[in-house]
């Protein structure tokens, strides 16, 4: 199938700003799904609210554009009721980790087979550039005119601690790497988290002197390094990219199926 066959072309052009990293993530995701040859009828994309969440409107899957922060809670209902469906949950950083932080850690704890994609632009874009729990200290935002004093979460460490069984990080600059990681995350049985750093030139770049999209992408190239690379060894302050966790642990829906088998047997006997 051609890439366009995975898109709802009726609904284009998309609403993202020129230079936004989110389109690149959509591109990488579609390539990943094409590579996996998944049946479109068996994919459900569930998103919350924000710029990132609009991604679900553009894909030709079953798509559920829900409430701010609650995508994973809706997705849990979809997945548990029909475990054979592939459930993809793209979220913004505020969506996933501020208002939706509780659902994020609990989905990870259950190890339910959902692919969570954190499209991290470190800002609330749709509401006009307020700082997020991933902005970190020293960032200018419309609600931090004197710069932020809030520390940020490390998505990878948080996901690991909460029990996610696949955790990866990449950026919108590393498009092929994005596709590879998304492919692995979708194939992984269990709760997988892929953090993709995504530039917001309109609200983050402009306020924080990071320049336009091209410049911001350059920063992703310069400020990150692959796990296990020499570059990271030499410059440990760089942001590591790669797969941080890939392990097996009982998956929630499969465990529940065992409960059903047991309860049905008990009832008969």
């Amino acid at each position: 199938m051609a890439v366009q066959d995975y898109l709802r072309q009726r609904f284009f052009p998309h609403m993202w700003c020129p230079g936004c990293g989110h389109g690149t993530i959509l591109n990488a995701l579609i390539h990943s799904i094409e590579e996996l040859k998944l049946n479109k009828n068996e994919i459900v994309m569930v998103s919350g609210i924000g710029c990132s969440a609009r991604i679900s409107g553009y894909v030709d899957f079953h798509s559920l554009h829900t409430l701010h922060g609650r995508a994973l809670a809706f997705a849990t209902g979809v997945k548990l009721s029909r475990p054979h469906l592939n459930v993809l949950v793209p979220m913004g950083d505020g969506d996933a980790l501020a208002i939706g932080g509780n659902h994020f850690i609990h989905a990870a704890r259950r190890n339910i087979d959902i692919t969570a994609i954190v499209m991290n632009n470190r800002i609330y874009g749709m509401t006009g550039g307020q700082f997020s729990p991933l902005s970190g200290p020293g960032v200018k935002a419309t609600t931090a005119p004197y710069k932020t004093i809030d520390s940020s979460f490390d998505v990878v460490e948080l996901a690991k601690a909460a029990g996610a069984t696949f955790v990866a990080r990449t950026t919108a600059f590393h498009v092929k790497e994005c596709t590879e990681m998304l492919t692995k995350a979708i194939l992984h049985k269990g709760f997988s988290v892929v953090e993709i750093m995504s530039q917001c030139p309109t609200h983050f770049g402009r306020k924080n002197k990071e320049g336009d999209a091209v410049n911001m992408l350059g920063l992703y190239k310069d400020n990150t390094a692959k796990l296990g690379s020499k570059a990271l060894e030499e410059k440990p302050h760089l942001i590591p990219r790669g797969i941080f966790v890939e392990k097996e642990r009982p998956e929630y829906c499969e465990e529940y199926d065992k409960i059903i088998a047991y309860a049905m047997k008990e009832k008969i006997s």
């Binding site: 709802r8 009726r10 609904f11 479109k40 009828n41 068996e42 459900v44 569930v46 679900s56 409107g57 030709d60 899957f61 079953h62 798509s63 559920l64 554009h65 829900t66 409430l67 609650r70 809670a73 809706f74 997705a75 849990t76 209902g77 979809v78 997945k79 548990l80 009721s81 029909r82 054979h84 469906l85 509780n102 659902h103 609990h106 529940y256 409960i259 059903i260 047991y262 309860a263 049905m264 008990e266 009832k267």
Partner: protein
């Protein structure tokens, strides 16, 4: 033990009704006094291949059942005051996206944490207007376990028929009290299943284009038709739109599909109502006290009757108006500050003859509480 007769709590009657109606997915969070519903379903659902999940919070529970409903399941959650508050945004989402679901609210005293283990009927207006924005909603209630069962079945049927969340407004007294429940045989009560689209594969399916009768045939997530669902105003494909015409038509559709069917939705019972000069309008556990009093006074020759409402939203205005038209006085018996009273006053010709017999201290209103007020109204002193 005879198979169909049970001696159960009201909460268990709700569970039995839900299972009879075809419930196969429940998500919830523990909260007094509704917890027995979750406890029972955690055991019963897997026995029939259904799913039960205890979510991380009230909001997540509401969201999870909406997700599961979209895949074609019959779904419910149960809660009480504080949890009902938390669920409101997602209830509005289900209104907007027209996803069938049932929410049982076993009411306790409020506001805030309030009076968790004691009875109240303080969430009537919240059931109607808890979520933001214009919308319509269905809320049902019951005063005894046979009716809790019946109303629970009706709630599922209405949720599927009108594609809407339906609220079951029970209360602590009925929820925790035990009494007889006769479980009807399969087929005895009508069960409504979801109307599914007949549009063939690869033919353009319009998930949000109502038929002439206002109904919207659904397609399950995972089936042949892939479409978008959003809480934003949306066009016939479910794609976001702020086109004024689309916004206007969708909002009117959401309200009309329920408000225009008020007669079909209305559920009520009459107790000694024929020729009644004094009418007690009540619902839920307080109706038990009203009926008790009416029967006692009837035995003494007084013309007192009870109009027991079992559907509170959409409010059966015409019914109340008609039944109360000849009454010397109407007493609304409820355990709040007059939430149904306001509706009854608005419905009748002479609102100045409508009085509130209430109790708000966490105790079940008693027949003598009502009698005292009645005697004052009758000019007979306390």
């Amino acid at each position: 033990m005879p198979k169909n007769i049970r001696f159960v709590q009201g909460n268990e009657a709700c569970v039995e009704g839900a299972l009879y109606a075809g419930l196969d997915f429940y998500a919830g969070y523990p909260i007094t006094p509704s917890t027995e519903i979750a406890e029972q379903l955690s055991q019963r659902l897997p026995e029939i291949g259904g799913k039960f999940i205890q979510m991380e919070d009230e909001i997540a529970s509401m969201c999870a059942i909406i997700g599961a409903s979209l895949t074609g399941k019959k779904v419910m959650t149960a809660t009480s005051g504080p949890g009902f508050s938390l669920k409101q945004e997602a209830i509005g989402y289900a209104c907007m996206t027209e996803i069938p679901c049932v929410i049982a609210n076993v009411q306790r005293g409020g506001p805030s944490t309030g009076n968790p283990t004691h009875v109240s009927q303080g969430d009537i207006n919240q059931a109607r207007w808890g979520t933001h924005g214009d919308h319509a909603i269905i809320a049902l209630t019951a005063s005894n376990h046979q009716d809790v069962f019946k109303m629970t079945v009706d709630a599922f049927n209405m949720a599927e028929t009108y594609r809407t969340p339906v609220i079951l407004l029970f209360d602590e007294a009925v929820g925790h009290m035990r009494e007889k429940l006769i479980i009807p045989e399969k087929g005895e009560l009508e069960i409504v299943d979801r109307l599914r689209t007949a549009v063939a594969k690869d033919v353009d399916y319009h998930p949000y284009l109502p038929r002439e009768d206002g109904r919207l045939p659904m397609s399950d997530f995972g089936a042949e038709h892939r479409y978008n669902v959003t809480g934003l105003f949306h066009d016939m494909w479910g794609f976001p739109s702020n086109n004024p015409k689309i916004v206007n038509e969708l909002l009117r559709h959401l309200v009309d599909k329920i408000e225009n069917n008020v007669q079909a939705i209305t559920r009520y019972k009459e107790h000694c109502l024929e020729d009644a000069e004094y009418i007690l309008v009540s619902y839920g556990s307080s109706a038990r006290s009203a009926i008790h009093l009416a029967q006692n006074r009837r035995n003494k020759g007084e013309k007192i009757g009870v109009l027991e409402l079992q559907s509170l939203w959409p409010f059966p205005t015409e019914l109340v108006k008609e039944k109360c038209s000849d009454a010397k006085a109407v007493l609304v018996v409820e355990m709040n500050m007059g939430q149904v009273l306001t509706q009854v006053k608005a419905a009748v010709k002479s609102p100045d003859r409508v009085f509130l017999a209430n109790r708000i201290d966490g105790q079940l209103i008693t027949p003598s509480n009502i009698k005292q007020l009645l005697r004052v109204i009758q000019g007979r002193g306390v």
